[in-house]
């Protein structure tokens, strides 16, 4: 994922015990178009729609303790 040459700077917000929220002029290097302006990227590894989050982290007790 890289920021586009123009437009809104990319920000990445880690959600405690959850995904990374990505906003701004980003693109995915797999060539697909993001479906929405703000996306949630899976970081628990069990999403069925990777790279996006589908909420399954809540079912597997995924924790990011270091972030509080």
């Amino acid at each position: 994922m890289t920021g586009a040459a123009s437009g809104v700077p990319v920000t990445i917000t880690p959600c405690p015990n959850g995904p990374l929220l990505v906003r701004g002029d980003f693109r995915l290097d797999d060539g697909s178009e993001p479906h929405r302006r703000t996306v949630a990227l899976c970081r628990c590894g069990v999403s069925t729609i990777k790279p996006y989050c589908d909420g399954t982290h809540k079912l597997v007790g995924f924790r990011t303790e270091d972030e509080g």
Partner: protein
Amino acid sequence: MSERLIQVLTGSPDDGAAWADLARAAARISPDALRDDDLQLSLFLLYGLHYGPAEWVRGEWEWHPELLSGRAALEERFEGDLRAQVPVPDEQQGAAGIPDLLFRMTGVQSGPSLSRHLAKKATREQAVESLIQRSIYTLKEADPHSWAIPRLSGRAKVALVEIQSDEYGAGRPARMHQSIFARAMDAAGLDSRYGAYVDVVPALTLASLNLMSLLGLHRRLRGAIVGHLAAYEMTSSIPCRKYADGFRRLGFAEEVVDYFEEHVEADAVHEQIAGRDLAGGLAEDDPETIPDIVFGAAACLHVDGLVGEHMLAAWERGESSLRTPA
């Protein structure tokens, strides 16, 4: 009362006073506002005046004092019954604990699951019924929560607008969730005009939407509409995955599956923004709303839980979940 209201709405504005008396009496004698077909249909019609378009919606009624007075009596009874019935967690929470509390409240799976039934066992008829039940809210998806936008400020307002922008397609009319659902209904052979199924759904289904309109249309309840949205989003992604599986299993058109798959991805984003920036942000900026944020979330879980229980129980008995099969 609801029949008389329909006569008033299709007649002259002079008839409002007698209806308001009727509404005050109906509010007094109702045994349970959530399950009262007459009371919930009346509220649905009155709230509809603020949304529209629908065949009963004409401009002169929206702010008519007598209709508002009757509506206030129905709302007082509805809110009173909700406050008495909805189980609210008894832990005291500061603003910083609100996102975690909401995630904990919505993480508890109690009782049988409608989405699991749809995924694995539901018949085609039951799946169609579930679309009809859902349509009462979903053809207006996001609208009741939008009433809250001007009532918020700062971080909470930005968060709500970010969620609602996505709900309304972020500049792409075809991706408006309301429109995706209307296409899903059309593809399933159903009537996607607003209110088409209002006579066949039970009071609880109308109560689910009326709850959102009640919370959205009163500034006093801004915390509750925020809590409602957070709970709604937090209980959407995982069930929508199961609904998508079920509608695919039953051979429904891609438009129907698309509606649910869109919500798997969208609501995994929305739940984070709703829990942390919207509800958490409001709790920090306006701590007096904290009890109502929790109440709104609990009311969402309670009422939508009752709707799901009603549907599963009817199907278990081999009956339709509708008042009269569509």
